[in-house]
Symmetry: C2
């Protein structure tokens, strides 16, 4: 009997097939028994009719418990009223293992209870849908960069150079070299690589040892970073806008049923079209102050600022040209106002906030080394980075998008911890 995944039932109507999976739920109705089986690709209601089954088959219904593994053989029947459109008329059941006391039951559990059992929680329907959308967002990202001529450059995770804030680095001993760091960004390496390939991207985990417990932070997250040679801040913003629109469109196109299952307001995503809002930092500060924020000019936006600002808008917002003091050393000074840098943050609407940080990079050797010294960074570690400003320096820009923040927004989740299979946070290292 041929094994068929539930997602492929449409191609096998009327055939006798075997489904291999786990019992999701079961119920009785008179002389009929229903097994709801999941196989990872979908759910199917398997129908057991007493008069048509020998007693040894019929009695398996009562043995089967939630999450027991089994193989069900039967005939596929189209059934409009069934959730997936098909039912399976059972001929034979092979029980693989009876699960005893599966801990996650249909009742409500606390989130700590579920996170402690993340290895099982992933089987729950909502988590299953989120991971399908995550899979689509990441594949769409790979397709976008590949199709637009970006070469993948995987940047090192263990590094002697530091990208951003030294205070939030995880450390590891590296052979005889002493302390090395887990990368917070691959940007510096991508800057080198864009001088070789023109357009490059990196996509890997980044690490931040931030002792913050918010719904927007993970200690380990997946980070897509693009870098383009001969590209200024405005062109950089255009690329980001194009990429984010592509992501949303792909999910709308290929994961509509998943979004419905997650009860996402799809109309809000259908709104995500060009052009996005583009506000200067100066105007943004004024708007926030008018909304009641106590933010002062010169400060980076806080989480609450991002929330109140983006709740007002139905499209993403680029906040452009921050004060240099609020941003990293490698950003290029604004030619007309040396207090500002050529940069942008992209904030997702509906209160979600920052998903991208971006900037044009300082391409002048003297200005860059001055900034490195001002920040008291270890100059020798940046020798190779400074080389890029000596040997054919060019204007170049790039951006980094946090995948889990994007999944959180697109899926309409409350907290980022559900947007990654096994979250790593201040109080979470297990499973």
């Amino acid at each position: 009997m041929s094994w068929v995944y539930i997602k492929d039932f449409k191609d096998h109507v009327g055939e006798e097939v075997t489904v291999k999976g786990w019992l999701y739920n079961k119920r009785k109705s008179g002389k009929i028994r229903f097994l709801i089986v999941r196989d990872g690709t979908g759910y199917v209601q398997c129908v057991m009719v007493k008069v048509e089954l020998p007693e040894e088959e019929w009695s398996k219904f009562s043995d089967l418990t939630q999450e027991s593994s089994l193989e069900v053989t039967g005939k596929i029947r189209a059934e409009k009223r069934a959730p997936g459109g098909y039912e399976l008329d059972v001929n034979h059941i092979r029980i693989v293992q009876i699960a005893q006391d599966y801990p996650i039951t249909p009742k409500e559990h606390g989130v700590d209870f579920l996170l402690e059992r993340r290895h099982l929680w992933l089987r729950s329907s909502r988590q299953h849908l989120i991971m399908q959308v995550r899979n689509e967002i990441i594949k769409a990202t790979r397709d976008y960069f590949y199709d637009n001529g970006f070469i993948l450059i995987d940047t090192p995770l263990i590094t002697g150079s530091i990208g951003e804030t030294a205070s939030t680095l995880f450390e590891t001993e590296y052979y005889d070299f002493g302390t090395a760091f887990l990368a917070q960004t691959g940007q510096l390496y991508l800057e080198a690589a864009c001088m070789a390939h023109g357009r490059v991207y990196g996509f890997g985990p980044s690490f931040r040892a931030e002792k913050s417990k918010t719904r927007r932070h993970l200690s380990e997250y997946w980070h897509v970073e693009g870098e383009v040679a001969f590209c200024d801040n405005d062109e950089n913003i255009d690329i980001q806008e194009d990429y984010v629109c592509y992501l949303v469109l792909r999910v709308l196109d290929r994961c509509r049923s998943q979004l419905e299952g997650l009860e996402r307001d799809i109309s809000k995503l259908e709104n995500i079209t060009k052009p996005f809002h583009r506000f200067s930092y100066d105007d943004t500060i004024k708007m926030l102050q008018e909304m009641g924020s106590d933010i002062k000019w010169g400060e980076d936006l806080g989480g609450d600022d991002e929330t109140i600002l983006t709740e007002k808008y139905n499209k993403p917002i680029f906040v452009i040209n921050y004060p240099a003091q609020a941003k990293a050393f490698y950003m290029k000074r604004h030619p007309d106002n040396p207090e500002l840098v050529l940069c942008s943050d992209l904030l997702a609407p509906e209160g979600y906030g920052e998903i991208i940080g971006a900037s044009q990079r300082e391409d002048d050797y003297d200005l860059l080394i001055k900034r490195i010294r001002e920040e008291n960074l270890p100059e020798e570690a940046y020798g190779w980075y400074l080389d890029l400003r000596k040997y054919g320096s060019v204007p170049h820009s790039g951006f980094g998008l946090g995948i889990e923040r994007t999944v959180t927004w697109i899926c309409g989740l409350h907290h980022i911890r559900e947007a990654i299979p096994f979250p790593r946070m201040l109080y979470r290292l297990y499973p």
Copy 2:
């Protein structure tokens, strides 16, 4: 003037365009000057004719040095004799930056010299080609798993559980939890996830603090891992064979010019078709002994064994069912011979050796906990992993492929260090 990448010249013949890039080389011939410019997507010969250029343009030729950045405006002309098929008749040159004393010259450099300047070495033509092939192999991997119904599950890099050999783990302090480890594999997590999604894959960096200095080892490498529920060792081997054939075919299809540039013997890759060789471990040991190896039954294959064995064959070799003592605790015992486990290693031909490790996983709770105790592994760290054998355990199998080893083989490289943008090795943490 519109900016056009060199790879797109074919669509703009006869047009005046601007190329933005770096000077790769230059030469003179009578009253004509040639600039070979690279822009990351290709190389083009830009032709300067003295009688057609004002002196201020003509004189820029002598100013320009290797790796100077520039923008060249001119008309595209088809030219069969030119390497890419086109030349650019120069009207105007804008020098962005003159590079002084670029350290990598056309003469031969030692590999340490080049590795120390990896941020610049990436610009060299050979390294440029390798990264293009790597980009293709990784995109082909993403496409293969996506198109075959695998859901991406990114597994954690910082972990309390240990996958394989404790002696080769990098450590990091994780908040109040004490010592955590950088993952050597995501397999255990993928086993959990395949119970949720049926077919899953992970693709991220893995870390091995191995104090070995061979042409096959990196301390940080990229690792593709597939895991399938209701899949035995034989079906697992079929998937690997299919996937590796797909990779080679994609590179042959889309990167033929890169392979030619690398002087790869393409006929050797055209040989990579199903079926691959499938040898039992027992037979492999006999063959190796006959070839002069001093390997004894029970030992894992050494690097030299892999070399001599695979030099004899023009297709990859699956070595199947190793002794349990040579392999990891989670592999399932052979039903007919408890000394062996249901596993396979895939060795690439031409002396390249192991690119995949694979096995069916132990799905019996009692046998698994017995193995964990025999290996003196911390039982509490594996509580969640054991759960998978309590709640609907099913037969399942998976495999892990090392991307850089695969790039090394497909590109025909001598050493793995050229197969990753910024290698991390025993003596290499910079740049």
